[in-house]
């Protein structure tokens, strides 16, 4: 796939031309997104126009990108970690952070509404500052702080030194080993699951709007799996980011194989459904799966996946509440 990478517009053009080849497989679609982002980053470095970065660094993406679960269109979620803070480095990476947020926007990745982007000083820091920030967040235990920590735990390095993110995740793991309340706070941060199974066992669909008759896969199906698995990963010090990889690692940890039985297949199926939701004509990406358009067997399958997700989530809550 030859590409002209001199402008963000040309990268966008290349991306739009080629993305269609990856619509039937989440794994290769995510690899393609990584490729696009790497090209954007390289261009951003040259646009900052100050030669090579002044010190070692790590540019990570997080959110669904970090977990390798992006759909066709997804928001930006990323941050920067650089080796040492000094005036020169701070100025350089501030500028680079702004550039690597602007670039993806032009290429077709909307700005993150929660401002989890390298242009935000909260997400662009030296390694030492990052460590202090993570510790502060864990001591703080506020709702926002815990939410940031969960976002950070999904970080995956795209460019630069791999070890920085892992070292910082280790800070979280070690802290929670000594301070049990933190894990509980993590859990309290994600206890809400959108209930989509009615008392009579029916799937509860949207009653109004454009997605009437549909179920929101993101909130009802993905999040229970993603959150439960992330929490268990924090607990066990699993540093992988994709939910499937995390599941694999956890299964090898004593006691989890029964609870995770079938979850991997369920999650893979969900990812497949997710890809079917992209509407080629309008180039819009949604999380709403129209239940009425499914066959009886598919409906049954979705219902089982939803129920299993809730079960897994409940298992995680019970485990963390028990404190083992």
């Amino acid at each position: 796939m030859e590409t002209d990478v001199r402008t963000y517009e040309s990268i966008k053009e290349w991306k739009d031309k080629n993305i269609a080849s990856f619509l039937d497989d989440t794994d290769s679609l995510n690899k393609f997104h990584d490729q696009v982002m790497s090209k954007v980053f390289d261009l951003a470095i040259s646009r900052v126009n100050k030669g090579s970065p002044p010190c070692e660094f790590s540019w990570f993406i997080t959110g669904s990108g970090g977990r390798c679960e992006q759909g066709v269109i997804s928001d930006q979620d990323h941050g920067l970690i650089y080796e040492i803070s000094n005036v020169e480095n701070d100025i350089y990476f501030k500028k680079l952070g702004e550039e690597v947020s602007y670039g993806p926007f032009i290429v077709g990745y909307p700005y993150c509404q929660g401002n989890v982007m390298s242009s935000n000083s909260l997400w662009c820091k030296s390694k030492h500052e990052w460590k202090e920030q993570l510790l502060k967040w864990m001591e703080d235990e506020s709702w926002d702080a815990i939410r940031y920590l969960q976002i950070f735990y999904d970080a995956r390095v795209l460019t630069g030194r791999n070890s920085y993110v892992e070292e910082l995740k280790m800070v979280i793991y070690e802290y929670q080993l000594k301070h049990h309340t933190v894990l509980k706070r993590f859990m309290e941060n994600v206890t809400h699951v959108k209930n989509v199974i009615g008392p009579l066992g029916q799937i509860l669909v949207e009653q109004h709007g454009l997605y009437q008759g549909s179920v929101n896969l993101k909130y009802a199906a993905f999040l229970p799996y993603v959150n439960a698995i992330r929490l268990l990963s924090i607990k066990e010090g699993v540093y992988e980011t994709s939910t499937l990889d995390r599941m694999n690692c956890l299964k090898q940890t004593k006691g989890y194989s029964k609870a995770l039985n079938g979850c991997e297949d369920n999650f893979l199926t969900l990812l497949k459904y997710r890809l079917t939701l992209f509407q080629v004509e309008s180039y819009t990406d949604t999380h709403y799966l129209n239940i009425e358009s499914l066959h009886k067997e598919q409906r049954k399958e979705i219902k089982r996946i939803l129920k299993d997700g809730k079960k897994l989530h409940d298992y995680m809550i019970a485990l963390i509440e028990k404190g083992c």
Binding site: G198, P199, Q202, H208, G209, G213
Partner: protein, 426 residues
């Protein structure tokens, strides 16, 4: 002066006050169920239309309903009621007049609910007059004024049919002719939830209406004899309670969460349903009637929405569907001891006779109210160059388009300035 005469008058006057206060409930109900930009309009027009309906009732309505020299449709005396007291009456005629006026006012208020958020103010004016002359008095005469349905023994103690179904049928005609509000339906036919701006108003409205309903139903005894009003009040309260509980349960089961709007509609549906039967049925039956009303109102709102009939304040389901059920219910549950009008119901050995009368009453009254209202509105539409405001006016809101100021001035002016193009604010 006779103590019973005074007591009856006093009790009925209290009933009239409670029913008139229900207009306040309707103001909050409609304002809360609609959007902020229409709130002032909703509040103001409801007071205005009650005023106008009162004058129409005084001039013609009362005479049409209760006057002598009646033809098939209406009576033909007592116009421009002078306040004269009828001799040997159980209560002061003036009190009875005010009580009946309040009912007429409620019926037109229900009808105008079908106009919500899109009708011209002038349409409210004309329709209030014509409804008060041509629609309400005819049905009230048929059932309460000694008309042909009264002769058949139609049971409608406080007006499930006369007040509620009549109002709802007019609202249905208006809703069909006005068509859905802008943004209610998407191109693919799916419906959007144009949520009302204040659920607390709506809940408070339901409570005001619930209390007012004691005037509506218990007051309809127009007598303190044997304190029978207490029995009627008991049935009324239990039906409202059962309606609220049933609606909560059904929405919880079907939607997965107890839906507030459905709960509120359930209480009102219970009240509407028990209105016909409150004096004719046993206490346990009032619970059943209210419970069923709470369930059917839930499905009714879904039905109308699916049929693309945009009913912002659920007048069709709460007053129409529940009104029909309430009227029919007395044909099932009326007991031999309590059926002072008509016959006992199906469950009490009365066979299908009373149920048949009730069905006939619902069908003919409903058809009359709908047809005449539809014709009136259709003619108004042609003559007035439409009864709906323009698209631009609907979007800016009826507060501004019809009255020139907002019900929530600070809020709406702020929103307006946010919408203004940047160049203008520089």
């Amino acid at each position: 002066m006779d103590v019973m005469y005074l007591m009856n008058s006093l009790w009925t006057m209290l009933g009239a006050i409670l029913v008139i206060f229900m207009i306040g409930g309707f103001i909050l109900l409609e304002a809360g169920s609609t959007r902020m930009k229409n709130a002032g309009h909703v509040a103001g027009k409801t007071v205005f239309t009650f005023g106008l309906a009162s004058l129409v009732f005084w001039a013609l309505g009362y005479g049409f309903i209760f006057g002598s020299d009646a033809n098939f449709f209406v009576g033909m005396s007592e116009f421009f009621y002078s306040g004269e007291l009828v001799k040997d009456s159980g209560l002061a005629t003036t009190v009875f007049f005010v009580f009946q006026l309040a009912f007429a006012g409620i019926s037109v208020t229900i009808a105008l609910g079908g106009f919500a958020e899109r009708a011209k103010f002038s349409a409210y004016v004309i329709f209030t007059i014509l409804f008060g002359v041509l629609v309400y008095p005819v049905i009230a005469h048929w059932i309460w004024g000694g008309g042909w349905l009264a002769e058949h023994g139609k049971q409608d103690f406080a007006g499930s049919t006369v007040v509620h179904l009549t109002g709802a049928m007019a609202a249905l005609a208006a809703t069909i002719l006005l068509k859905p509000r802008i943004g209610k339906y998407n191109k693919d036919g799916s419906a959007n939830n144009l949520a009302g701006h204040n659920q607390v108003y709506t809940a408070l409205a339901v409570l005001i209406l619930w209390v007012g309903w004691f005037g509506f139903n218990a007051g309809s005894t127009v007598s303190v004899d044997g304190a029978f009003f207490g029995f009627v009040a008991l049935n009324t309260n239990l039906a409202a309670a059962a309606g609220a509980v049933a609606a909560t349960l059904i929405s919880w089961v079907v939607l997965g969460k107890p839906d507030i709007t459905t709960i509120l509609n359930g209480a009102l549906a219970g009240l509407v349903a028990i209105t016909a039967s409150c004096a004719f049925v046993d206490v346990w039956a009032s619970v059943v009637i209210g419970f069923v009303a709470g369930v059917i109102v839930f499905y009714s709102t879904r039905f109308f929405e699916k049929k693309k009939i945009d009913d912002p304040i659920f007048a069709l389901s709460v007053h129409g569907t529940a009104g029909i059920w309430g009227t029919l219910s007395t044909g099932l549950f009326a007991t031999p001891e309590l059926a002072t009008v008509g016959k006992p119901g199906l469950l009490y050995g009365g066979g299908f006779e009373q149920l048949g009368v009730q069905l006939m009453g619902v069908a003919t009254s409903g058809a009359y109210a709908f047809t005449v209202s539809y014709v009136i509105l259709y003619i108004m539409k042609k003559v007035m160059g439409g009864i709906r405001v323009s698209e631009e006016e609907e979007i800016m809101g009826l507060d501004m388009s019809e009255h020139g100021n907002y019900g929530y001035p600070e809020q709406m002016v702020l929103e307006e300035s946010n919408l203004r193009p940047v160049v203008e604010t520089k």
